[in-house]
Amino acid sequence: MAQQAVATRPFTGVDYYQLDALLSEEERMIRDTVREWISERVVPIIDQYAQEARFPLHLIPEMAQLGILGANLPEEYGCAGLNSVAYGLIMQELERGDSAIRSFASVQGSLVMYPIFRYGSEEQKRYWLPRLARGEAIGCFGLTEPDYGSNPGGMITRARREGNSWVLNGAKMWITNGSIADVAVVWAKDEEGQIRGFLVEKGTPGFSAPEMKNKWSLRASVTSELIFEDCRIPLENELPHARGLKAPLSCLTQARYGIAWGAIGAAMDCYDVALRYARERIQFDRPIASFQLIQEKLVFMLTEITKAQLLAWRLGRMKDEGTMSHTHVSLAKRNNVAMALEVARTARQILGANGIMGEYPIMRHMMNLESVITYEGTHEIHTLILGEDITGIPAFK
C-alpha cells in the first residue's frame, strides 16, 4: 500500500511569485515535460533504488530520448541546443526526483560533454558528443583526489609523455558515474606541473574504477574511485585546448550552475510533501497546519524557495546574456543548497516520525543534500570565493 501511495504521489510546483510569467512558453513546456517524466518514471521507483543503493540504469536511454543529456549544447553535436534557463529548469525537475538523477545528468552534461565541447578537438567532439547525448556512452569527471578536494591545484595525479602516449599515474576519488562510465575526463599534471585534461576509455590497461560503497547519501548514485597505474593512452586522447586549473574549474562552473537550480527541486518536493502532510495530519483534533509553529515553518520554506527561484532565474538570464561570472554561480549554489538542506530538515520536523520513512522523500532528499552542500565547491569555499570577490583579499591561500 505504501508503495502505491508513493507511486501516485501528486506534486504541485512552487510559484508564489508568479515566476512562470518570467519564463517563455517553451521553457515552461520543457519544465513540465521533465516534471511529468519524473512523476511517472522516477518518483514511483526511486525510494527502492536508494534503499538498495542502486542507480536506475534503465532511465539513461529515456533521459537521452527526451534530450536531457547535454541539453544546452548545440544541435550539430546531437544535443538539444536549449538555453541556460531551460537547462536549469531540467536540473530542478531531475533533482525533485532525486539528487542522484540530477547528478548523473550534471556529470554527463556539464562535466563530460561540456569539457569535450569546450576543450576537445573537432574529432573528439564529433565522436563523443552524439554518443554521450544518446546515452550510448556514459562519462565521468576525475578532478578530486583523496588528499585534494577543495584544493585541486595540489593534485598528485601525473601525466608523463612517452613517445606517442601519455602515461597516467594517480588516483581520483568521489567520482560520480565512475564505475559505469565508458569515458573518464581526467585531470592530471604534466612533467612541468601544468594541468591537462585527458579522455580515458573504460578497459584501458592500468585504469580501474572501483565503486565506493556504504554511503548514507546519494545512495541511488554510483560513486567511485578512479585508479591509474601506468595507464597508457594515445596522444590524441588529450583535450588539446585545456591548460591549467581554470579549465576544470570552468566545467565546475557549469555544473554548479545546474546545482543552484537542482537544489530548488529537492526543496520544492520537501515543501509540497510537508504542506500536504500538515493539512492532513490531525493532532489535538485539528490539522497540524492550524498551529502557528507549523505555519511558521511552512512560510519559512515557501519564502526561502521563492528567493532561491529568483536567484536561479536571474543567474540563468545572466548566463544567456554572457554577463554571469563564476562568483554569481558561487552565490546561488551556496545559498540554494543551504536553503534546500534547511527546508528538508524543517520538512522532516513537520512530518515527525513519518519524515524518516522511505514512504516520503524527505529524509532521502536531506541525506542527498548533505553531499550536495559539499560537492562542487563546499559551502565554505563558495563563501571564501565571494569573500575574496568583495574584499579583494583571498582567505584560502
Binding site: E26, R28, T33, V34, G67, L82
Partner: protein, 243 residues
C-alpha cells in the same frame, strides 16, 4: 495519408475549480489548463499512424489565443501543423459543425478525437463529426489496425469488447489503452515554435444548448473513527439511516 486530430484545452483535473461570478462559467484565475487527457491518446495514435504510413498530421482546436500552449504541445509531440478555430462554445453540435467545416477543407483520411473531454464530460464529438462529415465512426476504441482502405478496431462495450471493420475516411474516438502517449522531446519543443498554426474564423452557428448554472459538488464531510463494530452499526442505523 492525411490525418486529422481534434484536441481540447481543458482545466487540469488536479486543479481546484472555482465558479466565476456569473455562476455559469469557470473562474480561470489560478487554473492550469492542459491538453485533454483522452486527446493525448488521439494525438499519439495520429502521430504513430503517420510514422507508419507517412503523410501529415493536422491538429484542430477550438478556442482563443490562450489555447496556443496546448496546441504547441501537440506540435511538439509531432503534429505537423495546426488550425485554431477562433470561437468559444459549450454546444457540442456547434463545436462539431466548426470542426467539420475545417476538417472537410483538409480532406483527411482519418480523424482522431479523445473519447471525451474532462472539462464538461462531452463525449459525442466522434458521432457528431461522423454525421456531419458523412463518414462512419467508431467510439471508445482501444485497438486499431489500419490497412490503407479500412481499419479493424476494437472497442469497449459493456462487459466485453467488440471488434469491427470501418471504411476510411472515418472518425475514431480514442480510449485509454489504445497506446502510450509520448512525451515531447525537448528539442522538438523548441522546433514546435516554428510550426504553423492557422487561425480560422468559423461561420456563425446558433447554439442549441446553453449552460444555465454550474454548481460544485457538496463539500466532503469529515471522517469519524469509531471504537467498535457495534458503535458503527448503531451510527449507520441511527445517524446515517442507511441500514
Amino acid at each position: 495519408m492525411k490525418i486529422a486530430v481534434c484536441i481540447a484545452h481543458v482545466p487540469d483535473t488536479a486543479t481546484r475549480v472555482r465558479i466565476g461570478s456569473d455562476g455559469r462559467s469557470i473562474d480561470p484565475t489560478g487554473v492550469t489548463y492542459v491538453l485533454n487527457p483522452y486527446d493525448e491518446f488521439a494525438v499519439e495514435e495520429a502521430i504513430a499512424t503517420r510514422e507508419k504510413w507517412g503523410g501529415e498530421v493536422v491538429a484542430f482546436c477550438i478556442g482563443g489565443p490562450d489555447t496556443e500552449p496546448t496546441i504547441r504541445k501537440v506540435l511538439a509531440m509531432g503534429a505537423d501543423r495546426a488550425v485554431r478555430i477562433e470561437g468559444d462554445t459549450e454546444d457540442t453540435l456547434v463545436a462539431a459543425r466548426w470542426l467539420a467545416e475545417a476538417i472537410r477543407e483538409e480532406a483527411p483520411d482519418i480523424v482522431f478525437v479523445g473519447k471525451e473531454t474532462v472539462s464538461f464530460n462531452g463525449a459525442a464529438m466522434a458521432a457528431a463529426l461522423g454525421e456531419l462529415l458523412g463518414w462512419p465512426n467508431a467510439s471508445i476504441v482501444v485497438r486499431l489496425e489500419l490497412d490503407g482502405q479500412k481499419a479493424i478496431y476494437e472497442r469497449e462495450v459493456e462487459g466485453g469488447k467488440e471488434v469491427g471493420q470501418i471504411m476510411l475516411p472515418c472518425v475514431i474516438s480514442c480510449q485509454r489503452g489504445l497506446n502510450n502517449p509520448r512525451l515531447p522531446k525537448l528539442p522538438d519543443i523548441m522546433k514546435a515554435k516554428q510550426k504553423p498554426i492557422a487561425v480560422r474564423r468559423p461561420a456563425a452557428v446558433e447554439a442549441g444548448v446553453e449552460t444555465v448554472r454550474l454548481e460544485l459538488p457538496p463539500p466532503k464531510k469529515g471522517c469519524r473513527f469509531v471504537n467498535s463494530a457495534e458503535e458503527l452499526v448503531r451510527l449507520l442505523h441511527e445517524e446515517a439511516g442507511v441500514i
